[in-house]
């Protein structure tokens, strides 16, 4: 072997550099030089021996991937790329998460101000946070759809039962990862979502012979790191989120993927004989090689998914940030994240302990399902019962989600419901979104048109609409629906209802008062009065709701994502 100086003497500097570069590339790719890569990208036939197969034998990253796929499974159907997409999302979350970790301290003293620091002081910090949060939601969705697809195409059947079992566990970890991240901003949303979640732990069924108070009390103590959710709890959930759960997910991912490679991706059900598994017996003419076809395909999907996530984080959606977590102030309506909404629905169906006990049972049922459902055929026509069960379960989950939605929440007093719609404690609204300068001091009535001020006019229209939903009339006032009430109840304690709502104000008056109390700070007060029909001197409702609005608070910007025109 000639030294580099001899080579330069022999070939000249240029040729030596090209040769060295070629050698370096060949070493890095474990077998493919620059010309091989170019020919692969051009779609040429490989030379013999095929250099594109060597990395699958000799390199670490490529040996994880199969060197070729059955062409039948490389189309959108049957995989819909969902497994690959789940992996992509996991990597995506890891990268954005590590960047966010740099700007985060898991302490109740600073976690919340860290959030505002990320939003207002870290270049591209908001984008990074949005991408992480959006990615988390997309990942839950993708993993769930991946499971649904695997069920529908019968891919959990022998020999892939264990792959399915690890997949169910990965779904659980994905949901837990997403949910454990919920607590970290330490705002009202995170604090109360986790508090509700942990109250489930308190109600969980205990093994027989053990005092539930002691058992569940200790479970709760461990989960919240103290008698109440505080510094200890935040640190625990942070470590779960950034350390334990990603680690476990990684381990189960590799087991899962090893099984996928070992058994191959199952072909579309109609493509093979009943009871046969031909995924690993791929005829030469049905092979699609990883290099270059699968690799370029995956690079394309990576680029497209990145494009969607970046653009979505920038224009479609902002990760919410509510006010600082406050253990003594419970928000009026605590809502579970959408992917847990079904559990809130279930709580309306049955006893808490029963529901909490049912969830792990369901998980176990999912895990062992392929060992009991041993029908040989994967064809849709032969799996009518299985597909019907799936459809029913899917419908049940959709209905449960709907039942857990705010549509079925327990309402507070009518004046508070109106107040929460117009001047919510958290987030924005039509009224808060009115630009500061377009909200002059004064007293305004619901539905009052303000000339030259479409923003305020719109807010007051919303005020009227909200009053309409939570009012009724005893005096024939045509503005509202007739009051409906139970004649048998005494007039002093009578509850009134209307077409929409079962507790409303009869013939109310309402107004919005705007005062500037400091430079750049306005006090918005909603005032309600409803006279008691039993005694004109007495008020059924005599309430006020105050919200402060600072000129710089940026509710207008927040509005554009809240599906509200402000």
């Amino acid at each position: 072997m000639a030294t580099i100086f001899e080579q330069i003497q022999e070939m000249g500097i240029k040729q030596t550099v090209i040769t060295k570069l070629d050698e370096t590339v060949e070493r890095l790719t474990v077998g493919m030089n620059i010309n091989d890569i170019r020919s692969a990208l051009r779609g040429d036939e490989p030379r013999r021996p095929n250099p594109r197969l060597r990395p699958h034998a000799d390199s670490f990253w490529f040996h994880i991937r199969p060197s070729f796929y059955h062409t039948e499974v490389t189309h959108i159907y049957p995989t819909f790329r969902l497994g690959w997409l789940s992996t992509f999302m996991f990597v995506w979350e890891t990268i954005t998460g590590i960047i966010l970790m740099v700007f985060y301290t898991p302490s109740p003293l600073v976690a919340y101000s860290n959030m505002w620091n990320i939003l207002g002081n870290v270049p591209l910090g908001q984008l990074m946070r949005n991408m992480h949060r959006l990615g988390a939601e997309v990942m839950v969705l993708v993993v769930a759809l991946h499971m649904l697809r695997t069920y529908i195409t019968g891919s959990y059947k022998k020999p892939r039962q264990f792959t399915w079992a690890t997949g169910v566990i990965l779904l659980l970890f994905t949901a837990l990862l997403s949910f454990s991240g919920y607590l970290l901003p330490w705002d009202q949303l995170s604090y109360w979502a986790l508090t509700v979640f942990l109250s489930g732990a308190e109600a969980a069924p205990t093994p027989p012979g053990i005092d539930p108070d002691v058992f569940n009390g200790n479970v709760l103590l461990i989960a919240q790191g103290g008698p109440a959710l505080g510094a200890g709890g935040l640190l625990r959930w942070y470590l779960l989120h950034v350390l334990l759960l990603p680690l476990l997910t990684g381990i189960f991912f590799f087991v899962h993927y090893y099984k996928v490679v070992l058994y191959g991706i199952s072909l579309p059900p109609g493509r093979e004989e009943i009871g046969e598994d031909t995924a690993k017996r791929v005829p030469r003419n049905e092979r699609t090689y990883f290099t270059p076809d699968i690799a370029t395909n995956e690079l394309m999907w990576s680029a497209l998914t990145t494009l969607f996530l970046v653009a979505g984080s920038l224009w479609l959606w902002d990760a919410p940030l509510e006010t600082h977590a406050d253990p003594v102030v419970t928000p009026l309506h605590v809502v579970a994240p959408w992917y847990l909404s079904w559990s809130q629905g279930w709580l309306k169906l049955a006893d808490k302990t029963l529901v909490i006990g049912f969830i792990p049972l369901l998980l176990v049922a999912f895990i062992v399902m392929p060992y009991f459902e041993v029908g040989k055929s994967r064809r849709y026509a032969d799996r009518r019962i299985a597909l019907t069960v799936a459809a029913l379960f899917f419908t049940f989950m959709l209905v449960s989600n709907w039942m857990g939605s705010p549509e079925f929440r327990v309402n507070s007093s009518p004046d508070r419901e109106v107040s929460i719609e117009l001047l919510p404690e958290e987030g924005t609204s039509a009224m808060l979104g009115v630009p500061y300068d377009l909200m002059p001091e004064g007293t305004y009535l619901p539905g009052q048109p303000i000339s030259g001020n479409p923003h305020l006019t719109y807010a007051l229209e919303e005020f009227q609409a909200a009053m309409y939903r939570h009012s009724c009339t005893l005096t024939g006032n045509s503005t509202w629906y007739e009051c409906v009430f139970d004649e048998s109840t005494p007039i002093e304690t009578r509850k009134y209802s209307n077409h929409f709502s079962d507790d409303v104000m009869p013939d109310p008056t309402a107004q919005l008062v705007v005062e500037e109390i400091q430079p750049g700070l306005k006090k918005l007060t909603l005032k309600y009065k409803a006279v008691s029909p039993a005694n004109p001197e007495e008020f059924l409702i005599d309430a006020e709701w105050v919200k402060y609005r600072h000129a710089d608070s940026n509710y207008e910007t927040e509005c554009r994502f809240a599906n509200k025109s402000c």
């Binding site: 939003l119 207002g120 497209l304 600072h550």
Partner: protein, 282 residues
Amino acid sequence: MQVKIVIGTVAFMLTMMILGFAVLREPARLSQYTDAAKGRSIEAGAHIFENNCATCHGVDGDATECYNSAGEQVGCQGLPLNNYDLLCGDPTYRMGTLNWAGTKEDFVKTTISAGRFGTVMPVWSEEFGGPMRPDQVQNVTDFVLNWESEDLCANEPVRYAWPEAAADYLASADGSAGDATNGAELYVTYGCSGCHGDTALEGSNAVGPWLGDIADVGNTRVDGLDAAGYVYQSILDPNAFIVPDCPTGPCASPSAMPGTFAARIGSNPTDMADLLAFLLGN
């Protein structure tokens, strides 16, 4: 495959362009969110202030409800906060009277956190045993500081010019008609009795020296000052002479007595004559 490479490349370039756009608008967005963080902190502070602080300091922070039409303090005990002395200048007048060396924000935050010794201002931060979390103290601080405006700071209030010597003051129109009965009431409403105790009951003083015998003792404290001159000087400038022995041990230096009486009594200067008449018993 070529199509896929093209799609992937286009998507990658679009992503880079979008990121470039995001970088370009970033400075404006960052300052918008920095302002929003402050704005929302002020809003949160307004809620806390209304529920906890307004009773003493007034809903508008000017403590007007605390004074009757004659300018006498009634009911509540808070100082006005929407006020030149607290917010304008650097250091502000009140920071000066307390020898405060830190920033204005620290001054307000520390006062809220730790309360004000010798007054009814309680401790608020949970760090010192109060009910508020640190972020809530910060919210209220932001809210109080938000009262500062060009209008408020445009005109420095005219302060009463206290004569150098007590004799000159007592000879003036404001000082000539001391009313000991009113002085006894003022001794309580200005908060003197909180530290100096009941003048009729020796040993009732909690923090400062007992003043029941100040008519005699006052003559001996500072060379060249009689009792009236000494008490007059001590009220206006507590640090001019610090008594060696306090009920809690050696008296602290600077004096624990607030330096705010020159301003507070200055808004109603005949009160000084009443207080002197009461304390010196003539």
